[in-house]
């Protein structure tokens, strides 16, 4: 991952424009909100969802898998829920929502991050990479190939998180020994118990000198 690129701030104009749109929308909505009858009417016409959506969202600009995105998100929305529910990037998994299982691991500016513990509004200007973004077209990432070769999974649900963590583990320099890998991968739980095969996959990629 190109770290210089990831630190680049998004275009200022874009940012202000969306902010302006938001203010415009919200001032109209404030007017509506103080008139309950109008709101009730709006709800009758099924406008309720649109109104409340515009009301409560904040614009965020970020890059996901190399593509710039302008999102309108609720301040309370996690990166995980927005990836899965808003952007249909369901490769990133929800396994606990408490940062205890690692299934939701993504890269933010090249570092592994638990997306269930990250609010989207805090990702302004950042570069997010998910499991959907690591292959080059049809050519799988070496870690993906190694997982298939060593059968580093069964049900496949923890797999995207294991792969994202595995890539980061090597980049962090935490894959020098097998014991190191096991220690620094222990935040990624696999209930099917594919651990030894996952370690083999990471070792192979490490020894092949592969980086993300």
């Amino acid at each position: 991952m190109d770290k210089n690129k990831s630190n680049k701030k998004p275009e200022k104009e874009d940012h202000q424009e969306s902010r302006r749109d938001f203010l415009k929308a919200s001032s109209i909505l404030t007017a509506i909100a103080v008139a309950p009858a109008t709101v009730a009417k709006a709800a009758e016409y099924n406008l309720g969802e649109k109104i409340s959506a515009a009301f409560e969202t904040t614009p965020v600009n970020l890059t996901i898998n190399g593509a710039k995105k302008q999102l309108a998100v609720e301040p309370r929305s996690t990166l995980l829920d927005v990836l899965r529910e808003q952007l249909n990037l369901t490769g990133t998994k929800k396994g606990c929502d408490y940062g205890q299982c690692g299934a939701c691991t993504v890269h933010v500016n090249g570092q592994r991050v638990l997306s269930c513990l990250s609010l989207v509004v805090m990702q302004e200007g950042k570069e997010v990479t998910t499991i959907e973004g690591i292959a080059k077209g049809d050519e799988l990432h070496p870690m993906q190939k190694a997982f298939i070769k060593h059968d580093g999974f069964q049900c496949g649900y923890c797999t995207p998180g294991q792969i994202m963590s595995g890539i980061a583990c090597i980049n962090e320099g935490h894959a020098e020994t097998k014991e190191d890998i096991k220690e620094f991968m222990s935040g990624n739980i696999c209930r099917c118990g594919a651990y030894p095969n996952i370690v083999k996959a990471i070792q192979e990629v490490k020894n092949g000198g592969q980086k993300s």
Binding site: G48, E49, S52, A53, F55, E56, E74, R76, D81, R84, E85, N88, L89, T90, G91, K93, K94, G95, C96, D97, Y98, Q100, C101, A103, I131, E132, A135, L140, Q144, F147, I148, K149, D151, F153, Q154, C155, G156, Y157, C158, T159, P160, I163, I181, K182, E183, M185, S186, G187, N188, I189, C190, R191, C192, G193, A194, Y195, P196, N197, I198, V199
Partner: protein, 763 residues
């Protein structure tokens, strides 16, 4: 030369002849769905983007027993985006809520499954009582936080040991004295009392929770008033289809269940649970597709668990190491509304040649949600007591525990009084001993050290029925030689598709990359549950039958077009060799393209069912496993590190070596959790779990799991089924926990009889 398991069923003598098994090497197949899983493209049940989706969040009760006094849902209803707050006060009537005595799961447990939103009764803590449905997940979560519920509390009972006196015989045992849950006697009633060596101990297995990585999820979508589609995390699409058709009083064909990918389940998808019905009710009420994903905490309380089980075992033996008697009793917890039972005591009846055996299985209804079979279910629980006790008796008489077991090896099933279809445990003893380095074990505990660590070796055996159900597969072969199959079976991770593609390729000669196996959809041909280690044994034979039926069609077509060599050919004689169809031992060949062209067709197809046969009445059919563990125990801190595990399995034919090995490694990993870390601790003042997430409930992580060495006997059992497979999923875990407990004893001289073996129990 086809592999042995293509042939019609031979006689038992032939099977026992090792030369019969042609160990033709084939390249282990990578998982056929591997690419989808490593790219994030595999879609699990909560991952289907339907238009206009609404989100439901469940609110659970805060008491374990009583009634709901009131529900204040005004604030939730007013919250932005909330579409409905559903409870027993306003839920639509579910037309087919099962009458008493019927249960949706197969095989059935007795009782009345929980009917969500049915009345104001609370039967367990965190019972789902309200669903908040909103336009987004966040809005539903916030809405759920605003619901205020008042209760009338009643005294609850959740403590197994404190209430053990109320344990009772299961209704299934009363109905059928031959049931695995019924009382059992063989030999002399008081044989134990007069045995020269008498051993008696109690063992406790705590409540364990399946905790697959994927949270239980469902998307319920009413496509019309009487037409329901569910994307559901289940282990049986047909079971789910049948159950919801009944529940909503609509024709079965109007219910579709899709479970293409299941993110682990380990048994908790063998039952349809209240949250599924809650989502279906919600979808009907808000007239939108509804997605409902349980929280991790709800995974402990709403979708079953392995019940806490107390066991007492008495073993009588001679001083020379011959078993005289085994008496084994157990009490497992169940809910107050369903009688959950499992085969905890079955291994005790048939693993060893003890002339006298008695078992007493009891259940204790408590104010808890219903348990459900968890990997290696009761057998794994029972094996912890039996295999620990065998180790304890061997120690008491100063015998090597393997020699003790071999002295009581049985060549036929002493419970059913039938010959085994196949049993190759002697090979497992030999190979396992070698691989773990058993010669380094000392009979006396605490004698071996590695630096400051105490070193111990232990082993345990396991067995599970080689179950087989009927299954049907549809297969289609096109002129390019692509073979596409369909079956309703689910795959929770073991690699069903991979195994089926391998079987089809071995049967036909068609390369694996030209074969596709579609599963996980109730619209496909019938198959039972993915449970009880029955999938390869059941669906494999149907794949075999379908492939042979296609070959018969091709032979008939070739013969009809004047190719006389094909006239008397049998399916076994015909194999694909690239695009050519070849007859074994003859030069006769034709191409698929020519054959289809001559007959003016684009494809051929077939649907074939395969069923268990009468051999099941003549032989006892079981898969067997044997697990060996080498552990390090720190003498001052009591920390246990499992350094090596060897798993040996007599599971019949190993169809897909790579995925089969992974399954064994996974079972051993689960066994490490059973032995050392997993414990759902309940605060009985509230009847609620203290350990309610993966931070408190410890499943094994990378650092806990050593190298796991897997050995397969790999000899087919053609009496069990035409593939020769006996099943693997359960035996992978049965016997692991006692192997580790026995190794800890060998290292320290300390016997822990209540799992998990945490450091406090060793220092």
């Amino acid at each position: 030369m086809p592999l042995a398991w293509y042939s019609p069923q031979p006689e038992r003598q032939e099977i026992m002849n090792e030369a019969f098994f042609d160990k033709k090497e084939y390249k282990p197949l990578d998982r056929v769905d591997g690419r989808l899983k490593v790219t994030g493209a595999a879609k699990y049940s909560a991952e289907y983007p339907l238009p206009n989706m609404a989100f439901a969040v469940l609110v659970g009760s805060r008491i374990a027993k009583g009634t709901i006094k009131s529900i204040d849902s005004k604030a939730a209803e007013r919250a932005p985006g909330v579409l409905a707050v559903i409870s027993h006060l306003n839920a639509i009537k579910v037309p087919g809520y099962q009458p008493k005595g019927e249960h949706p799961s197969e095989p059935s447990t007795n009782g009345q499954p929980l009917r969500v939103f049915f009345d104001n009764k609370i039967v367990s803590n965190d019972q789902p009582i309200v669903a908040v449905v909103a336009t987004s997940l966040e809005k539903a979560q916030f809405g759920a936080s605003l619901v205020k519920i008042q209760y009338t509390k009643e005294q609850h009972k959740t403590d197994l040991e404190a209430n053990a006196g109320d344990a009772k015989l299961a209704a299934s045992a009363k109905k059928n004295p031959k049931s695995p849950t019924a009382d059992y006697e063989r030999g002399q009633k008081d044989a134990f009392e007069s045995a020269p060596v008498k051993f008696e101990a109690e063992y406790v297995l705590p409540t364990e929770v399946h905790n697959p990585m994927e949270l239980q999820s469902i998307i319920a979508h009413w496509e019309a008033d009487n037409k329901l589609t569910v994307y559901d995390k289940v282990q049986g699409t047909k079971m789910t289809q049948k159950n919801f058709a009944k529940e909503w009083n609509i024709p079965e064909e109007n219910v579709k269940c899709i479970a293409t990918f299941v993110g682990g389940a380990f048994g908790n998808g063998l039952h349809n649970w209240p949250h599924e019905t809650a989502a279906i009710i919600a979808a009907k009420q808000v007239k939108r597709p509804v997605k409902l994903v349980l929280t991790r905490e709800q995974m402990f309380t709403m979708v079953g668990y392995r019940p806490r089980t107390w066991q007492k075992i008495q073993v009588g033996a001679t001083k020379e190491g011959k078993l005289v008697a085994i008496n084994h009793q157990s009490i497992g917890q169940t809910s107050s509304y369903e009688e959950f039972t499992e085969s905890t005591l079955m291994q005790t009846r048939m693993m060893y040649a003890s002339p006298s055996v008695s078992t007493r299985y009891r259940i204790l209804p408590l104010n808890l949600a219903t348990p459900i079979w968890m990997r290696g279910p009761g057998e794994a629980t029972g094996a912890f007591a039996l295999e620990s006790a065998m180790d304890e008796v061997a120690h008491a008489i100063g015998m090597d525990p393997i020699d003790f077991r071999l002295a009581n090896y049985t060549e036929s099933d002493p419970d059913k009084n039938m010959p085994w279809s196949t049993k190759y445990m002697r090979e497992c003893y030999e190979e396992g001993k070698k691989r773990i380095g058993w010669e380094n074990r000392k009979l006396k505990p605490g004698e071996v050290r590695d630096g400051e660590w105490l070193v111990g070796y232990g082993m345990g055996t396991g067995t599970f029925g080689a179950n087989r159900n009927s299954a049907t597969v549809h297969a289609e072969l096109d002129k390019e030689g692509n073979l596409v199959m369909h079956c309703a079976i689910t795959d929770i991770g073991p690699g069903t598709g991979t195994a089926m593609v391998q079987i089809a390729s071995n049967t036909t000669g068609i390369p694996t990359d030209k074969i596709t196996f579609h599963l996980g959809n109730s619209e496909f041909p019938n198959a039972g549950l993915q449970g009880g280690s029955s999938t390869v044994n059941s669906v494999g034979p149907a794949v075999l039958a379908a492939c042979n039926a296609l070959k018969e069609q091709l032979i008939t077509m070739a013969a009809a077009k004047g190719n006389s060599a094909f006239t008397s050919a049998k399916p076994d004689d015909l194999m694909f060799d690239k695009s050519e169809l070849q007859l074994a031992g003859k030069s006769a060949k034709t191409t698929l393209a020519d054959l289809f062209k001559q007959n003016n067709i684009e494809k051929i197809e077939t649907t074939n069912e395969s069923k268990p046969d009468e051999n099941r009445n003549k032989y006892s059919m079981n898969a067997f496993s044997m697990h060996f563990a080498m552990v390090h125990v720190h003498p001052f801190t009591g920390q246990v590190r499992v350094k090596k595990i060897v798993c040996c399995a007599d599971a019949g034919t190993i169809v897909s070596p790579k995925t089969a090995e992974s399954q064994m490694i996974g079972g051993a990993t689960g066994g490490i959790g059973m032995a050392l870390t997993e414990d759902a601790v309940m605060d009985h003042r509230f009847g609620r779990y203290v350990t309610k997430d993966l931070g408190d409930y410890h499943v094994p992580v990378h650092a806990d799991v050593p190298d796991i060495d897997v050995y397969f006997v790999n000899k087919p059992d053609l009496l069990a089924d035409p593939v020769g497979s006996k099943g693997l999923g359960e035996i992978a875990i049965i016997g692991v926990a006692p192997a580790i407990a026995n190794a800890v004893f060998n290292a320290t001289g300390k016997r822990v009889r209540e799992l998990p073996i945490t450091p406090d129990k060793l220092i």
